[in-house]
Symmetry: C2
Subunit: 132 residues, 2 copies
């Protein structure tokens, strides 16, 4: 297996793995949200919108586990917990931006392709569709 001829799976495993982490429904949103600075739990919750308490907790735990986010507890009477992007987290955010740029730049193209595909399908596949 010389370089340049290695199996695709080899080259991709890391990508697939990181994608498995940030490819879920909320991680990216959380990371983006934290990009501007530390935030508290419910601040994040509101900032993201639509995320359940459970999923925010789960997402945060996963991110923390992988060293992307740090969690700071201030044991005041109403407990205060701040989440913040680690250096690793920030570097990831930067890498993700490339994907974001692509997404923004090509959003229209993708949607157009999608429409074309769906339309072509609709006028071809339905059983017994005739010209009349």
């Amino acid at each position: 297996m010389e370089p340049g001829n290695m199996h695709v799976t080899e080259t991709c495993r890391p990508v697939t793995e990181i994608l498995a982490r940030i490819g879920d429904k909320w991680s990216i949103l959380v990371v983006k949200c934290l990009a501007d600075g530390p935030m508290r739990f419910n601040e994040l919750r509101r900032g993201i919108g639509g995320i359940s308490q459970r999923m925010l907790t789960l997402t945060l735990r996963g991110l923390e586990r992988d060293g992307l986010v740090s969690r700071t507890v201030t044991p005041t009477v109403p407990p205060r917990v701040d989440y913040e992007l680690t250096e690793l987290g920030h570097s990831l955010q930067a890498a993700v931006r490339a994907l974001g740029d692509w997404a923004i730049a090509n959003r229209a193209a993708v949607e157009a392709a999608r429409s074309r595909y769906d339309l072509a399908l609709a006028s071809a596949s339905p059983p017994l569709r005739r010209t009349g």
Copy 2:
């Protein structure tokens, strides 16, 4: 909602969408596999390894629908179908590479963080864990 203060969800929706497409279990592998040139169905299947016929079909359909992959049928006796990255697909592949580079560069750091986290958890959370 002035720029610079727009809701995170706004900025991220495109990213989340593209992530929903390529964030599944196989899309990235397929795209990477096709990066080197056109491939036939079972070629891809072997090249990826571990993917079921069904999932390859589904993944390919999705990619084709979004204009990332083109499908060319040659109606010979054993049918021949070639899949190829479109220009759009290639551009995506380039964007994804940034993420891939990050993943490769920081793989160790992530795994280390993971181990640390799991270890810290193991020595703290189990009910009634004592020093003895």
